[in-house]
């Protein structure tokens, strides 16, 4: 269970968001909505332990999650705006350990040994999403995950999300597009 209490972010002199509080139960999903620049990406990076938190506390199973950021990183799977795909490596090499599970989940198995430089933008995005399935991280933080995906891939991604939530994993996603996340809570950032 992810418990977020009164967190706020300030960059330089500028107030970005907060203070906000919310809670995501095991198997739960929360969709972050709000206009551009409302702090959705910043919030996701803070929850991943990448961004700097100005106020408040993030608890995971009752303990301060951000106290040890390296340990927190191991329980987080983060997909940002950038795909983090190395064009000189093949799809399998890009994913590393557990590659076959991820490739199967996003229907990329037939491209496993192709260098990623031959991939289209949508295929690179699918490869970035496949990374989620490769390791069993309980917290998925997704920033516009379905941008540039075709409908078949969105459906497959929906299956991945459902399987993850069925095992008690939680999902936080920032998006402007409808996501295949049934009964997700909505968090509106002003």
């Amino acid at each position: 269970m992810l418990d977020v209490q009164e967190i706020a972010a300030i960059r330089g002199e500028q107030h970005i968001f907060g203070p906000i509080s919310f809670c995501v139960p095991p198997g739960g999903a929360t969709v972050l909505v709000g206009p551009n620049g409302s702090g959705k990406s910043t919030l996701l990076r803070i929850l991943a332990g990448l961004g700097r938190i100005t106020a408040g506390v993030v608890r995971w199973h009752g303990r301060d999650a951000l106290a040890d950021r390296a340990e927190h990183g191991a329980r987080v799977a983060y997909v940002g705006h950038l795909d983090a795909v190395k064009s000189a490596l093949t799809a399998r090499e890009n994913l590393g350990a557990g590659a076959d599970i991820g490739l199967a989940a996003m229907a990329l198995a037939h491209l496993a040994d192709q260098p990623a430089r031959f991939f289209s933008a949508g295929q690179k995005r699918r490869l970035a999403l496949a990374r989620l399935a490769c390791r069993a991280a309980p917290i998925w933080l997704l920033d516009e995950p379905t941008l540039g995906l075709d409908t078949a891939s969105v459906a497959r991604f929906g299956d991945m999300l459902a399987a993850h939530r069925a095992t008690g994993g939680i999902v936080l996603a920032a998006t402007h597009l409808p996501l295949p996340l049934p009964d997700a809570a909505e968090l509106r950032l002003a």
Partner: protein, 220 residues
Amino acid sequence: MTLWMIVTRDLRLSLRHGADTLAALLFFVITAALFPLAIGPAPETLARLAPGIIWVCALLAALLPLDRLFGADFDDGTLDLLLLSGLPAALVALAKAIVHWLVTGLPLLVATIPLALMLNLDPDVLPVLLAGLLPGTALLSLFGTTGAALVLGARRGGVLLPLLVLPLTAPLLIFGVAAADAEATGQASAAPLLFLTALLAAALPLCPLAAGAALRSAAE
């Protein structure tokens, strides 16, 4: 993800980008080969200057790949994933320093042998020169990794980097060349070599810690 997985992955990337990897080595060989043209081919002069030439050229060549050491990972989002790999940021930085040494420092050591012979260095001095360059190149990788992490995300970081790293390398140059000169003039070369090794022992834990903190702040 373990430290070893980052090292093997980056080594594989360096092999795929073979031209980038060879560039530093070729730079080293070519700049060192320019000195006989500039100062004349007199064998005694070259033998006297050879350790200094090799050290300065190795130092400059090791700087070349630093710009992309973290730059590529920063630009394509891989750095975020490395920081979320479960490893402390300091170990991520240490992995990068190891890769830098393997693809730059080690080839420089090997290329030193033919270059030293070309510059008419006394073959008896060569082992001492190499013994100095071994901790020397490792220190260059550690200092360079720290510098590269510090300038990450800064505009014109590539220009800033040599200004930051080169002053730190002054002790390496002094003690590395002193060891070779001592051997050439028949004095004991152990003291400067030990000093280089002591520097390495201090830099090995400190540089990754500093670089790790810099990586964290670059990601923010």
